[in-house]
Symmetry: C2
Subunit: 209 residues, 2 copies
């Protein structure tokens, strides 16, 4: 199997969600694209990376495609995540993800503030960030969500990488790259997202003139 | 000026943040790339879209580049945003963005729950979603952040588009496309992000075997 580009991997969960809710036996790339916001060409290209080829005019087998994406993303094994930083954003993330699917479970919530440690957030009790390495090993955490202040992001990411976490979702407003090239860091910076949208506000105004 | 690809636009705020904090007079694409997590080729290509060309071995003028990106993103005019949905995520977003830069200001927070309407969140009082159209017009809102439940996302997005909002940051776990092609919708789905990271947990394990 050839290496699947990161951008294609990031689109697979959207296809998977739609396929899971779909009632049909077969789906075309046109329909799957419309439902997920991508072009049919993009859908066909993404799925072809792992050998899923639809039949012209008939499309893809929904059940088979769903199982294949599930397997590619390794969701069949279940993935354990934890959130570091139990401020407004960290606690909101824990509550938000707990409402959703159970493929990815948030198993722990950590903070450094003694006043927050021990507080109950949904089904989790906030634990001390001093126990980070122990918790990662005890619970077999593969993914960490960074919701810490800017200053703490890089040192915490290095500790996570060092004790075996392999993927980080970084909400801290700073670029994080660990000393470990095998660790994948996905940034989500809300301020930067809003700044980028500012451009589109302008664009669409100009187009409509 | 040629049309700048959406993906390049989404990288500009990261460059801008680094340039704003930078103390140097000049910066090379190599340094800017390392600091923001992109390749130097990517940096040069992105900046060339709007006519910013560095000088080999000398780089870009930091101040000029900063002002140019600021202008491209229309941040010099200031952009007004609002958040629809004052649950855990919506309120966390309001508090989070309020801490940061002031180029993009969140001017209003709306909800449909009578028990939440009127509650104070940071400097904002939660208003009724029934007033959505009035608030967009009164405050000149260009960007909306959707933090509503799945079922509400599409109808709210249509209302936003209809009254002139031109960019939507969608946190609801559903694909949103409005009936208005001029409205740009950027999805951020935390569950899907975590599912995609599951793949990378697996990848890196395989590489290290």
């Amino acid at each position: 199997m050839q290496r699947i580009p990161d951008a294609a991997i990031r689109r697979l969960p959207a296809y998977l969600r739609w396929l899971t809710e779909c009632q049909e036996e077969r789906v075309t790339s046109v329909i799957l694209g419309q439902a997920t916001g991508y072009s049919s060409e993009q859908v066909r290209k993404d799925l072809a990376y792992f050998g899923a080829f639809g039949t012209r005019g008939v499309g893809y087998d929904v059940l088979a495609l769903r199982e294949e994406i599930y397997r590619i993303l390794r969701l069949d094994r279940g993935v354990r995540a934890m959130v570091v930083g139990a401020g407004h954003l960290g606690t909101a993330l824990v509550r938000y993800v707990a409402q959703g699917h159970q493929d990815v479970q948030i198993m722990a919530l950590l903070d450094s503030n003694p006043e927050i440690i021990g507080v109950q957030v949904g089904s989790l009790r906030v634990e001390s960030v001093e126990r980070l390495e122990d918790i990662v090993r005890e619970l077999g955490i593969g993914i960490a969500v960074l919701a810490v202040p800017k200053e703490a992001a890089v040192p915490v990411a290095d500790r996570l990488a060092e004790c075996g976490v392999r993927a980080i979702l970084n909400f801290a407003p700073v670029a994080v790259c660990t000393r470990y090239p095998e660790v994948f860091v996905q940034p989500i910076d809300l301020t930067l997202e809003l700044q980028a949208l500012s451009y589109f506000v302008g664009q669409r105004e100009r187009h409509s003139l």
